[in-house]
């Protein structure tokens, strides 16, 4: 539904997005990850036609954004929750959007109800907390009942209840066959929400994998005084401490039995879940723009 071909954006001699090619499919939640400054927001802005690409194309259903007759009915986006006139009420903000698309006011009340904003809708948007602004933005994205949803950091500022509500919402929208494209920094949420992960670093595509592949699954950790023979017997093992080996592949039972057969004392043997955060950190180690020393 969203197709990017060699999408590039340069600001002077800085390349924000570099030859990005990918295709987003309906019925999936695609997560968009990357360090700050990796080009995620710039990419989304180019999909919406807010910024013109230096080269390459970004198409929605095969057409550029400006060609869509009622754009909000095709793609609903939340890029910046604070992009609301502070003196305007939340309800009027959504009503203006609805009017521009020929969407009835009743739909405005519907999405206000969906996002729990009915009570606050009459107040000026400048009085909203970040979480309320986010909810208003999500209401706006849902207004046109679009086939594609593109959200930049939707859980920012939401309380745990809100975070879970978004996750459920996004998964249900994908289950209805819509295309959902979400960028986030919240690893644990990304793990539980997305089916497919796209990782960007310094404007380039670093990874485009199903979630199952990136969450490497379980590894086995074993500690003991003389593990060298075990390390020799398991070529995939790596030292994670002076007396500790970590290996992916065999089960704890298999590692335990091997140590026993080799006559090696074992102090600790356990299964360890490798997280998305670990995979992500490994992938992006070279690409962090604004990073602290690790």
């Amino acid at each position: 539904m969203i197709t990017l071909r060699a999408l590039t954006k340069r600001y002077g001699d800085k390349t924000a997005v570099d030859g990005l090619t990918l295709e987003l499919t309906p019925g999936t939640v695609t997560g968009f990850l990357g360090p700050n400054g990796a080009g995620k927001s710039t990419t989304m802005r180019m999909v919406l036609g807010l910024d013109a690409p230096t080269s390459g194309t970004a198409l929605i259903g095969g057409r550029p954004y400006a060609d869509l007759e009622h754009p909000l009915r095709t793609i609903g986006a939340l890029l910046d929750a604070r992009a609301v006139h502070p003196a305007r009420s939340g309800r009027d903000h959504l009503r203006a959007m609805a009017l521009s698309q020929g969407i009835p006011y009743s739909r405005v009340e519907e999405v206000l109800g969906l996002t729990g904003m009915t009570g606050a809708a009459g107040r000026r948007a400048g009085t909203y907390s970040l979480g309320m602004s986010q909810r208003l933005g999500i209401a706006g994205a849902l207004l046109g009942d679009p086939r594609v949803l593109m959200l930049d950091e939707p859980v920012n500022g939401l309380d745990p209840d809100g975070v879970r509500w978004i996750r459920t919402l996004l998964r249900s929208l994908a289950a209805e066959g819509r295309t959902v494209f979400v960028s986030s920094h919240l690893m644990s949420e990304m793990e539980r929400t997305a089916d497919r992960l796209i990782v960007l670093g310094r404007g380039r595509l670093i990874a485009d994998e199903p979630m199952s592949k990136l969450v490497a699954g379980t590894e086995v950790r074993v500690r003991g005084p003389r593990l060298q023979p075990l390390a020799d017997a398991l070529p995939a093992a790596r030292w994670t401490g002076s007396d500790e080996l970590t290996v992916a592949g065999p089960s704890p039972r298999e590692v335990g039995k091997l140590a026993y057969d080799l006559g090696l004392p074992v102090y600790e043997l356990r299964a360890v879940e490798s997280s998305l955060e670990d995979s992500y950190m490994n992938l992006t180690a070279q690409s962090v723009e604004y990073g602290a020393e690790r």
Binding site: R45, L79, H85, D92, H93, A96, S100
Partner: protein, 248 residues
């Protein structure tokens, strides 16, 4: 286009600042027009002017040209600069990606609103100031009605001009600077030069700046209305081009 215009009208009327500016324009007219009329009649008395030598609406015209047009011009400017300041321009353009259409819709709504506010304002301004012209005021019903209408049109054109400049500059402060320069400083300097060098050329050029052309238009020289319209159209076209070619 009607959808976009409907949305822009809602956006304009749903913020309090719009109504504050309308009120400000009213106060300006009610305070400045009578004052201008008094000054005019005093001057004429001192220098022995002829009775009926100024139009009944002349004080209102002067007030529009040198005061009210700034207040309602600001309204036109804000229709765009507030979108950039609050970043709501991203939502607006997501709703209406065809940028020329958005600009034309905004300009249309601004023009209609300012005209609808300007005409009654001009009428009231004339009504309160004309009596203060004493015998020097000349009342001709048809002429006065035409002048009131012209005041509404001039204000609408200046608001569209301000919208165009606001789209080019994107920031209120910069836009106000440009507008003050164009509407006040440039004609003033040109007239000074005309007087200093006793020059016809400078005087004529001055009359083609929006404020002075507008003053002639509102006094009755209809063709000067085209000059003001040309300024507004040029600013709008420049704004459309800028919005279409630049990132947001």
């Amino acid at each position: 286009m009607t959808n976009t215009a409907a949305a822009e009208w809602l956006k304009l009327r749903s913020v309090r600042s719009t109504w504050w500016f309308v009120a400000g324009a009213a106060v300006t007219m009610l305070v400045v027009a009578p004052g201008t009329a008094l000054t005019t009649s005093n001057n004429l008395e001192m220098h022995g002017g002829d009775p009926g030598s100024v139009d009944a609406a002349s004080a209102a015209v002067g007030t529009v040209a040198f005061a009210v047009q700034f207040v309602l011009g600001a309204l036109g400017m804000l229709a765009m600069t507030s979108e950039f300041a609050g970043r709501s321009i991203t939502v607006t353009l997501a709703c209406t990606p065809v940028r020329a259409r958005l600009m034309l819709a905004k300009a249309g709504v601004v023009a209609v609103v300012v005209f609808a506010v300007g005409v009654p304002l001009a009428a009231v301004g004339t009504a309160v100031s004309a009596p203060l012209l004493d015998e020097y005021g000349r009342f001709d019903a048809a002429r006065t009605v035409a002048q009131v209408g012209a005041m509404g049109v001039h204000l609408a054109l200046v608001a569209v001009l301000a919208l165009g400049v606001g789209t080019l500059v994107r920031r209120s402060a910069g836009t106000i600077t440009v507008l003050f320069g164009l509407l006040l400083v440039v004609p003033f300097v040109l007239q000074l030069l005309a007087a200093a060098f006793d020059s016809e050329v400078f005087a004529t050029v001055a009359e083609f700046t929006p404020t002075l052309a507008g003053q002639r238009f509102m006094t009755g020289d209809a063709e000067y209305g085209l000059v003001v319209a040309a300024w507004a159209a040029a600013a709008l076209a420049a704004g459309i081009r800028a919005l279409r070619t630049r990132d947001v």
